[in-house]
């Protein structure tokens, strides 16, 4: 927890020290090492979540496999049908790679507006998606509304699954398996990411609304994907709001009024930085902000 947390000074001796950190030179070497360590091992990408384990009173694993120097995992490939984001691409690198691609304005805002500048240069997209206890991840709702797939690799091969399915299984990912790529289809659409931190920067967002809309020449919504983050333990889509916007002209105030009628489907999570009811109550305002940003994109 960030906001409101007391000054922490956990002595090093209180840490459950790992025996090793192996810096993998290649994907094959990383998969071999993860396979060998089994449940005692885990990937370490930016480390911005793992290194705070002692503060969350979570034990560290015995062995970490550092994946940040694997060239294959640190590249963003922009193709004509899809973009492919290596799992170890940092938030800062992703935001820079997407600049100038309006259809990804929401994802660029999620990656480029999270945390603070020093953290954005360390934290990776794979770590953002894989940290299963982390409710406030910015890139998760942004990618949910872009219909992203996640590629998972092991020594035996690669699987590709939808992000929503990945979120459901991520805490039980078999040892030896690694998220290697995030694949996002390209399409003409308006996207936006609206988040509400308690202070302007640094804090986790209390609530997030990401949206992706296709509109016709008369600005009527033809397709809508809307995702909510940080309100519940894991981000998810808002299907009733998506359905309600279809066929109507995109209007920010009207979308916010509709959202206000549909917030009852969320049960907000309580935590020290905000009570659950508050997280839910700010959603219509975030829908309005996101719609305004999308209209301008």
């Amino acid at each position: 927890m960030i906001s409101g947390s007391p000054i922490q000074n956990i002595p090093v001796s209180a840490r459950d020290a790992p025996a090793s950190i192996y810096v993998a030179p290649s994907l094959a070497a990383a998969l071999d090492a993860l396979n060998e360590y089994g449940p005692a091992g885990a990937p370490l990408a930016g480390g911005t979540w793992i290194m705070r384990s002692p503060i969350r009173h979570e034990p560290l694993r015995s062995h970490y496999v550092a994946i940040g120097r694997i060239a294959e995992l640190t590249a963003v490939r922009i193709g004509s049908d899809a973009i492919e984001i290596g799992a170890a691409v940092t938030h800062a690198a992703l935001a820079a790679a997407l600049a100038g691609l309006p259809e990804f304005a929401g994802l660029a805002a999620a990656a480029g507006g999270s945390a603070n500048s020093a953290i954005r240069a360390m934290a990776t997209i794979g770590g953002n998606l894989a940290a299963s206890e982390f409710a406030a991840a910015d890139c998760v709702p942004a990618l949910l509304c872009l219909d992203a797939d996640v590629e998972i690799s092991g020594r035996d091969g690669r699987d590709r699954i939808g992000l929503a399915d990945f979120l459901a299984v991520r805490s039980a990912l078999a040892p030896g398996r690694l998220v290697t790529r995030i694949i996002v289809p390209r399409a003409e659409r308006k996207t936006a990411h609206a988040r509400l931190p308690l202070r302007r920067s640094g804090d986790y967002p209390v609530a997030i609304v990401s949206l992706s809309l296709s509109v016709d020449a008369a600005n009527r919504v033809q397709a809508a994907r809307i995702a909510v983050g940080s309100v519940e333990p894991s981000a998810r889509r808002w299907p009733r709001l998506e359905a309600a916007l279809l066929g109507r002209p995109l209007d920010a105030a009207a979308a916010a009024r509709t959202a206000a009628e549909l917030t009852d489907e969320f049960v907000g999570r309580d935590s020290v930085d905000a009570p659950g009811w508050y997280r839910v109550s700010v959603l219509p305002g975030l829908v309005r902000r996101a719609a305004i940003a999308a209209l301008g994109s």
Partner: protein
């Protein structure tokens, strides 16, 4: 096991646990106490150092992963007994208070000065999003940075 570090041009071999935060090695093994472990969460910036030239919270970097990289702490940013441009401007602007945040501020601002000589007031604020000053002297810190940029 073990790893070695290059900090302000000096080499150190350490046998510490590989996930020991870099800030602890700097302070306990190298006696470089400029970087302060305050929040240990990556959010206050009091432990900021340059790793391969980039501002990095040293509370979040496992020391073993700093092996082979160039580390500069606040102690290494200016010749002994002298002030660098931002330090001099902070002093001249009375922008120095309790000093808890200052080593980290100096590291982030030194990076800004060297990489963005055209930085605006907004750029300075953006560069300081990872540095929290509890004494709330932000206005003077921003003014001092503008002064340092102007005297380049």
């Amino acid at each position: 096991m073990g790893f070695s570090l290059t900090v302000n041009g000096d080499r150190l071999s350490s046998a510490a646990d590989p996930a020991t935060p870099l800030v602890d090695i700097l302070r306990e093994e190298m006696h470089l106490t400029g970087a302060k472990p305050v929040c240990r969460e990556g959010f206050c910036g009091a432990c900021m150092v340059l790793v391969d030239g980039e501002p990095t919270p040293s509370c979040l970097l496992p020391a073993a992963l700093a092996d082979g990289r160039e580390i500069h702490t606040v102690e290494g940013l200016a010749p002994l007994g002298m002030l660098n441009r931002i330090q001099a401007a902070l002093e001249a602007s009375d922008a120095v208070q309790c000093g808890m945040c200052f080593p980290g501020m100096v590291v982030s601002l030194t990076h800004l000065l060297t990489t963005r000589p055209d930085a605006t007031r907004d750029d300075i604020r953006a560069a300081l999003t990872g540095n929290i000053c509890r004494c709330t002297g932000y206005e003077r810190i921003v003014e001092a940075t503008l002064l340092a940029l102007a005297t380049a």
